[in-house]
């Protein structure tokens, strides 16, 4: 598969949502934990040698699974080969948790589900589609009934599957009574 390295390098220079020097071990035989600058930019996680400007590599964070690893690490694996793990070692449990939280929200698919959820909630409360004002209510990617990938998302983050469908209108403060 072709991709332009320069495009990815340019992206890696963009402001990071999160960046830190932490330990990292790639899923290669005999690989050991090394100090790396790890940088989250949109849905890509870049990793650098600590003394180099260009990244060694990038991980696209779609259809991945973020797992807590003892004592204070986490791992990233991908759906098609779940046993192949990129392992990261943080300096504290707190730092580890921050990374896990950030990475779990880093996918475009997560953003899409969040958007559908908010759109649906607002529509239920106001009777109006909030996307209409932007002229994008017809776009395929924002549709409620877009086919959901099955068996994938729930592995990535438990409880995510079907959020858009089981949105909690009946449990909302004020419930349906809030509609005007």
């Amino acid at each position: 598969m072709r991709y332009n390295e320069k495009e990815l390098q340019a992206l890696s220079r963009q402001p990071a949502e999160k960046a830190a020097e932490i330990g990292m071990r790639v899923p290669k035989k005999g690989s050991v934990v090394k100090r790396r600058l790890v940088k989250l930019v949109v849905n890509f996680l870049f990793y650098f040698r600590t003394d180099e400007a260009e990244p060694i590599g990038a991980l696209l964070l779609e259809h991945c699974r973020i797992t807590k690893e003892e004592p204070s690490g986490f791992s990233i694996s991908f759906i098609e080969e779940p046993d192949r793990k990129y392992y990261f070692e943080c300096s504290s449990e707190e730092q580890c948790q921050e990374w896990i939280d950030a990475l779990r929200r880093a996918s475009y698919e997560f953003m899409r589900r969040s958007l559908i959820f908010y759109r649906n909630e607002i529509r239920k409360m106001t009777g109006k589609d909030p996307l209409e004002q932007y002229g994008i209510s017809e776009e395929a990617r924002f549709q409620l009934n877009a086919p959901q990938p099955t068996g994938i998302e729930c592995r990535k983050e438990e409880g995510l599957l079907g959020r858009a469908e089981i949105s909690p209108n009946s449990f909302w403060p004020g419930g349906g009574g809030g509609r005007t």
């Binding site: 598969m1 072709r2 991709y3 332009n4 390295e5 320069k6 495009e7 990815l8 340019a10 992206l11 963009q14 402001p15 949502e17 999160k18 949109v42 849905n43 890509f44 990244p55 060694i56 590599g57 990038a58 991980l59 696209l60 779609e62 259809h63 991908f78 759906i79 098609e80 080969e81 939280d101 950030a102 475009y108 698919e109 953003m111 969040s114 958007l115 959820f117 908010y118 759109r119 607002i122 409360m125 106001t126 996307l131 932007y134 994008i136 395929a140 990617r141 877009a146 086919p147 990938p149 409880g159 959020r163 909690p168 449990f171 909302w172 403060p173 004020g174 419930g175 009574g177 809030g178």
Partner: protein, 245 residues
């Protein structure tokens, strides 16, 4: 530079919804070596534009990451052409041609809005709108949820304790117990965040994927889920008491 190519290709071929797809002809490539290429099947998924040899062929031939680029109509030997241009120096544009004007316009529209940042702004905006709605609802009716909330305990997304621990905590608790949405009041409005680069968002405590100091979607989900879990527990208990199983 490495990329988890296998996983990227897997994502390209997975059943997750495509945001747009169709045939396009590549008028040139970043390498610039090829003349007009045969048409390829293009699939947009989020901020990633994949191309395949044909509609059914696998795996993808290539990937274009739609970040830091602009998409615009352009002049080319082919009709219905448009270009994806990158802001960074030294990056050549992709010039692609659709098969008809309608398709050309549709592609330019979706590609120019495909970036992660655009999606994030939208989510942030709707998050803010929902928050406002919740606040206005909460100020109108506060009774219905208070009882349930009391049994459910404090929402798990409570902001970290304020520095002034000795303050009127009981009163604060009372406030929290009312039908207030699980977000700290006084959050920044999304509009203010628009001016700031994406980088500053999660650095700001990382409370929300899209805007800081806000309850976010998974937290809301967990929070409301808590009530369901409690109700289920009560139901199970009552069934155990009454039914014997």
């Amino acid at each position: 530079m490495k990329l988890n190519e296998q996983s990227v290709a897997h994502y390209a071929m997975s059943g997750s919804p495509a945001d747009h797809e169709g045939f396009l002809r590549r008028c040139s490539t970043p390498g610039g070596r090829q003349p007009a290429a045969p048409r390829c099947w293009f699939v947009l998924k989020g901020n990633l534009l994949f191309y395949f040899e044909g509609q059914e062929s696998r795996p993808p031939l290539g990937l274009i990451v739609l970040e830091g680029c602009t998409v615009e109509l352009c002049e080319a030997p082919q009709e219905f052409a448009f270009a994806i241009r990158f802001d960074a120096p030294g990056l050549r544009p992709y010039v692609l041609a659709a098969e008809e004007q309608e398709a050309q316009e549709a592609w330019v529209k979706v590609l120019s809005r495909a970036s992660f940042g655009y999606m994030r702004l939208l989510v942030q905006e709707l998050e803010g709108q929902l928050h406002e709605l919740q606040l206005s609802l909460a100020s109108r009716s506060s009774a219905p949820r208070s009882q349930a909330r009391a049994s459910a305990g404090p929402p798990p997304d409570r902001p970290p304790p304020q520095p002034e621990e000795g303050g009127p905590s009981a009163e604060t608790e009372g406030d929290e117990g009312a039908a207030k949405p699980p977000a700290p009041v006084g959050r920044r409005r999304p509009a203010e965040n628009w001016a700031c680069s994406p980088a500053c968002l999660p650095l700001n405590g990382g409370d929300s994927p899209v805007s800081p100091e806000t309850s976010c979607f998974p937290k809301l989900h967990d929070w409301y889920g808590q009530e369901i879990i409690n109700l289920r527990r009560e139901w199970l208990q009552s069934r155990a008491l009454g039914g014997g199983l």
